[in-house]
Symmetry: C2
Subunit: 353 residues, 2 copies
C-alpha cells in the first residue's frame, strides 16, 4: 500500500479500533454490529436527510418527480440454490427495496464483479434469469458495468443492483411512521430463504425440498396501496430476519412492538429444520416476504387485499404497535409467556443474500 | 452447487463456449473481449433502447424529469495509490459517468463489499475521502449497502457507486451523435492514472511522482455546455484509454476519426514511464479526463471554456471526424506516417479502476 497524503479531517474513527481493529463477518450480518457500523461510520460521516432515514432506499423529488433510489450488493453463497440463483435474487431484491418505499420500480442498473474463471455457461444462466426476473417485475435493466477480478480475489460472482422508481402522490412510507395502534402484517411464511440456503451449505436432506421464496413484491404492494394509501411502514425482512426488522422499526419510530408467536406463519418443515439447525426462525432471512404497519381502521382491507394476491395468500396479522416498552419488541409465546425479541447480534448466516 | 430446475429459454450461450469456456481477466479489460461480452451476452439478452445506446449511463424521462442513471464497480488494486484511494475514485467515477451524459449529478448510492479482515482504520479513511469527494462534486450520498465476505473471497474492498442526475432541456449527448466535421478535444494530459497505478504495483521509482488524475468533471462539463449546448459526444477515457474510447465512438456513430499524435497532451515523465513499461499511452487508463466531440463552429468557444477551468488548462484539439474509413481511428504519427489505432485487445492493465 502506498502512503498517500490524504488530507484527513482529523476525526477519529467512530468504531473503537481497540475493540474492532478489523471488519468482521458480523459487520455485514444485518444485526447489531452492522447497525453500529452503518450508524456510527456511514450515517454520521455522510450526514444527510435521505441517509438518516435508514430506509430501504432514499426518497427525493427531482423536477417535480417523486423518486425512490436504492442499491444492494448480492454476495450469496452458493450462487445457485433451490428456488433460484444470484441473478434473480439481485433483481427481485432491488425491486423489493423500491417497493418498500411505496415506489413503482422502473429502471435497474447492474454491476457485475466476476471472478476470473467463472464458467461462461453459469454466467449465461445468471444473465438469462436476471432478464426473466426483470420482465416478471416489469422493470428495465437500463445500464450496467462488468469488472473481472483475479482468481482467488472474488467468489464466482457478486452482483450489485441499484434501482429507480416513482412514488405516487399521497404515499408516505417510512419506518418512523409506525404509530401506536398500527396492525403489523406479514405477507407469508417466514424463514424459507435462509433455510433453503443453509440446507444446501450443510448438505442436509429434508423430506420436502426447502426452496428460497425469492419473488418481486411490487404488485403485491400495489394491491395493498390500492386498499389503503396510508400504509405507514413497509419492510422486507431479509438479513437478520423478522426480529431485526421489527427492532429497527421500533427504534426508528420509538414505539413498542407486541407480536404473538402463534400467529406467525411458518411451514412445518421449516420450523423442523430450524430446530435441527438450532436457529430461531425469527432471525432467519426472507426474500419474497414483507412486513406492513397499517392503521388499525384499514388493517382488514389491506389484509384482504394481500390474501387475494398469490404472494400474500399466507398473510397474517402478527401483532400491533403499543405504548409500552418503546424501542423494544416483545413476543407473547405459544406457552403464554412473554419474551423480549432482541436484534440479532453477531452473525447467524453469513452471505445469505 | 445445487442443481436447480431453472426454466431456460432454450437460447444457446452467445459467447462460443468452445473458445471461451470461462470468464478471463480480458473480459473486464475494456477492450475487444469486454465489448464482445457486453454486446453479445448482455445487450442482446436485456435488449432495450437505454442499454443499446452503449453510453456511460442510461437516459430517460420520468414524470417530465429528464434523468441520467449510471453504475460502476471499483475493484482497483491497490486501494490506496498516489493521488487518491478507491473511495474518491468511486465517487468521482460515477459523477463523471453522469457528467458524460450531460447531466448534473445529484444523488449517489454506495454498495460496499468488504473482505473480512479489512482494517477498520483503512475503511474509515476510505469513507472520509468518499464524503470529501461527494462534497467537492456537490452530490449527496443518499443510500447504501454493506456486505462482508469471508477472508480470501474478496480483496479488501470493492465499491459500487450508482448515481442519478438531471439533464437540461436542449442537451442531447450520445456517442451516436459524432458527425463529420466535429472537432475532437481532450481535457488534459493523458495516461496519468494508469501509470500511477502501474508504478505502485511494479514498485517503480521515478524522479517525479506519478499521481492519479482522479477528479470530478461535472463543473468542467457545465462550463463547456455554457459555451455550446450542442456538444455531440462526451466520454471519459478510463479502461482501455483514449484509443478504446475513440474506437467505440467511431463504431457507434459509424464515422471515421482522424487524430494527430503531436497534438495529444502527455507529460514527459508519463511518456518515459510508458516507454520503460512497454505501454502505448493511448491505451492507458485516465480518470479525471474527458474527450468531447464538438461542432466545428463552436470548437474554439468550447476549447476556450475548457482552458479557463482548472481541470482543462492542458486541453487540446487532437483531431476531427472524417468521411474516410468509417468505424476506424487513424492517427497521423509524429514522423509523418499514418497508423490505424485499433481497440485494445486482451488485457493491458487489470483492475485499474
Amino acid at each position: 500500500m502506498a502512503d498517500t497524503p490524504i488530507d484527513f479531517t482529523g476525526l477519529a474513527c467512530p468504531i473503537p479500533i481497540s475493540e474492532y481493529p478489523h471488519v468482521s463477518l458480523a459487520h455485514g450480518g444485518g444485526g447489531k454490529l452492522s447497525q453500529q457500523l452503518i450508524q456510527k461510520m456511514f450515517v454520521s460521516q455522510f450526514a444527510n436527510e435521505q441517509l438518516s432515514a435508514m430506509h430501504d432506499g432514499a426518497m427525493f423529488t427531482i423536477d417535480g418527480a417523486r423518486l425512490a433510489f436504492s442499491t444492494d450488493s448480492y454476495v450469496i453463497n452458493p450462487i445457485f440454490f433451490p428456488g433460484g440463483n444470484i441473478g434473480e435474487l439481485a433483481v427481485n431484491g432491488t425491486v423489493n427495496d423500491l417497493a418498500m418505499c411505496g415506489a413503482k420500480p422502473l429502471y435497474l442498473a447492474v454491476g457485475l464483479i466476476i471472478e476470473e474463471g467463472l464458467s461462461m455457461d453459469e454466467l449465461w444462466k445468471i444473465v438469462q434469469s436476471m432478464q426473466k426476473a426483470a420482465q416478471r417485475a416489469g422493470v428495465v435493466l437500463a445500464t450496467g458495468d462488468t469488472k473481472v477480478v483475479d482468481r482467488g480475489k472474488g467468489d464466482k460472482i457478486f452482483i450489485n443492483t441499484s434501482g429507480i422508481g416513482t412514488i405516487s402522490e399521497g404515499i408516505n412510507i417510512h419506518p418512523q411512521r409506525a404509530r401506536v395502534g398500527d396492525k403489523i402484517l406479514v405477507s407469508g411464511k417466514i424463514a424459507q430463504h435462509g433455510i433453503a440456503i443453509m440446507s444446501v451449505r450443510e448438505g442436509l436432506e429434508f423430506e420436502s425440498e426447502m426452496k428460497s421464496d425469492t419473488a418481486p413484491l411490487n404488485e403485491l404492494v400495489k394491491a395493498m396501496l390500492a386498499a389503503c394509501k396510508d400504509i405507514h411502514v413497509l419492510r422486507d425482512p431479509t438479513r437478520g430476519g423478522v426480529a431485526s426488522t421489527l427492532n429497527e422499526i421500533a427504534e426508528s419510530a420509538h414505539v413498542g412492538i407486541a407480536i404473538r408467536e402463534e400467529t406467525i406463519p411458518i411451514e412445518g418443515a421449516v420450523r423442523g429444520a430450524c430446530e435441527i439447525l438450532g436457529l430461531d426462525p425469527l432471525y432467519v432471512a426472507n426474500e419474497g416476504k414483507l412486513i406492513a404497519f397499517v392503521p388499525q381502521a384499514y388493517s382488514n382491507q389491506v389484509f384482504a387485499a394481500m390474501k387475494r394476491h398469490p404472494l400474500g395468500i399466507d398473510a397474517a396479522i402478527i401483532g400491533e404497535v403499543v405504548t409500552d416498552h418503546p424501542g423494544a419488541v416483545v413476543m407473547k409465546t405459544r406457552i403464554g409467556g412473554s419474551r423480549v425479541v432482541d436484534m440479532l447480534s453477531g452473525e447467524q448466516l453469513p452471505r445469505i443474500c
